[in-house]
């Protein structure tokens, strides 16, 4: 441990004040500070990707393109996708929120390997800087999917090499985070905390960790091969040297489809936490939800071929992948119905996190159900690579994941900062995000059904109405996000002090102070089932909730 950590914390001193100065942050081994540093970068990536998205939408205001050249448009959508996927959605919930919450929820002082955790942060930072470098070096216009031979042609310059290295480093960071979380959840629990006492957020991150460890190295080797192929013409992916471009697609999707579950599983974990706490009722069907996370992780490895139904792979391969893909519907349905059943006969409190979660149900419903059209072969053939696909994955990766991320951010904000955000602004932002999101992406479903392919800098005049609706929606969505940012940042200065347990939640992070002390808990917390609300009573809005008599099981 570094010397800064060796000094015992004065009782009651929060982690934010334990050690001062830039060094105490940059060299910290404290999972909470690492989580906050991730949060800052991840939100920076969201902002950058969001700016790209707004330029794209404004460009598509008119069929011939309103703003930029075709080449500039192609670079913008590539960077929008790459920044959002690799720098925001994949690390967003696990690395930023997860880092802060996981050790607290298992009642530990830190993650299993704090130094590996810091290394993982710097790998992510290096990856992010390389992306910025790629942007400065003239950008890249390959799409985030990086399909060769286009992506590895000689005309693609330095940008592609920097971006591939960036993906490699960000992927390595993701692997180390997964190792850390699984080891933490396995080994750092107090002896009396059983597997089925854990908050479901931890089950979700556990399943995520499995995917990170098994799938991400394949992405690593794929981008490494791409890098070497571009430089030395190995003949692995480039057909003119004897390579096979479709092999790249297999490798890429072997990672990138499970990566979708790296994104959505933690989001589902947040939903499980919030829906129970704000219904004031134990989660319904704990074991089914926990096991469905694992089931999604496992099935997720067997479905990558559905991205390649029209790539020329054999029809019977397609049939098998189609069947496996459709199976993902079942664990997803289980979760959805169990969440709804949790609300049944509850005492529902409509605070901001809960409002985000309620909108999550509708958005995830649309995102999941439209997946059926793409998993089923007959409908995927015409819809593949059209705006229908764009709308579908934005419903899942943006609609559902960002909504859950915002729910989680508002939910844990008092714990992270010690301040309460403005409830009124929070609700307004949630409503605007929901409206703007639907207005942006529902027209894109229609455009896709009508036959508009994706990644088009210009389009047929018949699609203009849908594109304009979508652009207006994007502005509303951006406004909603800006209001959320304004409300959260403002709370740092104006917000009232948060009590230890403002929501009446039963999981262990709420047994720590808000914000927690350096070692998380001043005394070992009493271990209870994460959804056991018995005995929790509201003292007052200012003092929050407390367990009468301090009972434990």
């Amino acid at each position: 441990m570094s010397t800064a950590q060796a000094v015992p914390a004065a009782a009651g001193e929060s982690y934010l004040h334990h050690g001062r100065g830039v060094r105490s942050w940059l060299l910290t081994l404290d999972h909470k500070r690492i989580g906050i540093m991730y949060l800052v970068l991840v939100i920076g990536a969201l902002f950058l990707g969001g700016v790209f998205a707004m330029v794209l939408r404004l460009h598509l205001w008119s069929p011939g393109g309103a703003l930029v050249s075709n080449d500039a448009y192609n670079k913008l959508f590539t960077l929008h996708g790459a920044v959002m996927v690799f720098l925001f959605v994949i690390p967003g919930i696990p690395s930023a929120l997860g880092n802060f919450v996981v050790p607290l929820q298992v009642g530990a002082k830190d993650v299993a390997f704090p130094r590996v955790n810091l290394l993982s942060f710097y790998l992510y930072l290096a990856g992010a800087l390389l992306f910025v470098g790629a942007l400065v070096a003239g950008g890249l216009d390959t799409g985030w999917t990086l399909y060769p031979p286009y992506s590895l042609e000689d005309a693609r310059g330095l940008g592609i090499l920097l971006a591939l290295t960036g993906v490699f480093l960000a992927g390595f960071s993701s692997i180390l985070t997964g190792v850390n979380f699984i080891a933490t959840i396995h080994k750092m629990r107090p002896p009396r905390m059983g597997w089925f006492d854990l908050p479901l957020f931890l089950w979700a991150l556990y399943a995520t960790g499995i995917i990170q460890i098994i799938a991400t190295p394949v992405l690593g080797i794929t981008v490494a091969l791409g890098f070497l192929e571009r430089l030395f013409h190995l003949g692995i992916f480039l057909p003119e040297y004897g390579g096979d471009p479709v092999l790249f697609q297999h490798f890429f999707w072997f990672y990138s489809h499970p990566a979708v579950y790296i994104m959505i599983l933690p989001a589902m974990g947040i939903v499980s936490e919030v829906v129970s706490v704000f219904s004031r009722k134990p989660i319904f069907g704990y074991r089914f939800i926990a096991m469905s996370s694992i089931a999604i992780a496992v099935i997720g490895f067997l479905v990558w071929g559905h991205h390649m139904f029209v790539s020329g792979q054999s029809r019977w391969t397609n049939v098998i992948f189609s069947f496996l893909t459709l199976l993902v519907a079942i664990p997803s349905a289980i979760k959805t119905f169990n969440w709804l059943a949790t609300m049944y006969k509850g005492a529902i409190v409509l605070k901001t996190p809960m409002i985000y979660v309620l909108t999550f149900f509708a958005i995830f419903g649309v995102g999941g159900l439209t997946g059926l059209f793409l998993g089923a072969l007959a409908t995927d053939v015409p819809l593949h690579d059209t705006y229908f696909v764009v709308a579908h994955f934005h419903f899942v990766m943006v609609g559902a994941v960002v909504t859950a991320f915002l729910a989680g951010l508002h939910y844990w904000w008092p714990k992270m900062t010690g301040r309460m955000y403005d409830e009124r602004l929070g609700r307004i932002s949630a409503a605007l995000v929901f409206l703007g999101f639907n207005l942006t992406f529902i027209p894109q479903f229609l455009a896709g059904v009508a036959g508009m392919p994706r990644r088009y800098a210009t389009y047929a005049a018949a699609f203009q109405g849908m594109n304009r609706l979508s652009t207006v929606g994007a502005m509303v969505l951006a406004l909603g996000m800006l209001i959320a940012a304004w409300s959260l940042l403002g709370s740092l200065f104006r917000g009232r002090r948060a009590p230890a347990n403002p929501w009446g939640a039963a999981s262990l992070e709420w047994a720590a102070a808000s914000p927690p002390v350096h070692d998380n808990f001043e005394s070992p917390p009493a271990v209870v089932y994460a959804y056991d609300y018995s005995g929790l009573e509201l003292i007052s809005e200012e003092a929050g909730w407390a367990r009468a008599g301090g009972t434990s099981r």
Binding site: S322, A450, P453
Partner: protein, 326 residues
């Protein structure tokens, strides 16, 4: 029975798939039927989710009169198995109906008398070599005649997408891919590229012309085969059909490559620092080996275009004619 199913399907389509383009191939009605089935199934489940969410929020909202939850079970295995089992059963049904239609769509054998077209994709144009030897930048088909497209790419991955036919197939360099189908409606339909392929991906369009009968196709196939009147016309046709115009404008506007207007005879600065006058030899070299000498300020992205001698001469004549003005 079949008739009523079809009527039911089309009634549903009006609500669910009203945005779909025309149905111009024999598999299109099947695809739309699957789409409608999944659409209404999804609409039902989405309605269940939204209605229950709203209902529960209204009914079970915490109020001063109702501060705590009512007792209810923390799990119910039978109920949970029920809502695992129903989706499982429905997944089997979706898989069954969709796969049945797909196996029809992905047929490999078009039969001995098929209408065979060789498709070549390149950045950013399509080329179709039809039975009887006629090549064109439009795809010409015949209603009711089984058709086989054999597709190759000269550079990167493209994807031939016929929205009205509900068909799509990637075109991969280094191998041939195939598409087998039967057009069912005469008319003209768009062809677009669905796999991102660079600068002018969104303008890589063509048309599929479906002739009402074989005689109409044969007449078209014959008409182009007479020798052209002049070299300039040959060059103009090549310039148009090989997609040269996508990058080299003929009106002087900037593009991916240098404009063809006033190109002839111009002194060009080269990317490697030298310079060259645009003459017969440089034009020939730039068509057959475009990367040999690239004009400064432009990307080295042009693929080699294997033209015949008369066609190259035609292009030269056409460039000269552009210089002199129309």
């Amino acid at each position: 029975m079949l008739h009523s199913t079809e009527r039911l399907t089309s009634a549903l389509l009006l609500a669910g798939t009203g945005f779909m383009p025309e149905r111009a191939s024999s598999v299109a009605p099947g695809v739309d039927g699957v789409f409608a089935f999944i659409f209404w199934l999804s609409a039902f489940f989405l309605a269940v989710i939204v209605v229950l969410t709203v209902l529960f929020v209204v009914r079970y909202r915490a109020r001063p009169a109702r501060p705590a939850p009512e007792p209810s079970p923390a799990h119910d295995t039978r109920l949970e198995l029920l809502w695992s089992g129903i989706p499982l059963a429905l997944v089997f049904v979706i898989f069954g109906v969709a796969t049945k239609v797909y196996l029809e769509m992905s047929r490999q054998d078009a039969g001995a008398s098929a209408h065979r077209v060789q498709v070549t994709a390149r950045k950013w144009s399509w080329w179709f070599d039809h039975p009887g030897g006629k090549g064109a930048k439009e795809l010409h088909l015949v209603v009711g005649r089984p058709t086989e497209l054999v597709m190759a790419s000269a550079d990167v991955i493209h994807s031939l997408y016929l929205p009205d036919f509900r068909l799509k197939q990637d075109v991969v360099p280094g191998r041939f891919t195939r598409m087998v189908f039967t057009p069912s409606l005469a008319g003209t339909f768009p062809i677009v590229c669905a796999e991102f392929c660079g600068t002018n991906h969104s303008q890589m369009n063509a048309r599929a012309v479906v002739h009402p009968d074989q005689a109409s196709f044969d007449a078209w196939a014959r008409e182009g085969l007479q020798p052209e009147a002049s070299l300039v016309e040959v060059g103009k046709r090549v310039f148009d059909e090989k997609g040269c115009m996508t990058c080299h404008s003929v009106d002087g506007s900037p593009g991916v490559g240098p404009t063809a207007r006033s190109m002839w005879g111009r002194m060009e600065k080269l990317a490697d620092g030298g310079s060259v006058q645009v003459d017969e030899n440089y034009v020939r070299e730039s068509i057959l080996k475009p990367s040999a000498r690239v004009v400064s300020g432009f990307e080295n992205v042009m693929p080699p275009i294997p033209l015949e001698e008369r066609e190259i001469q035609g292009v030269i004549a056409y460039l000269q004619s552009l210089k002199e003005g129309p």
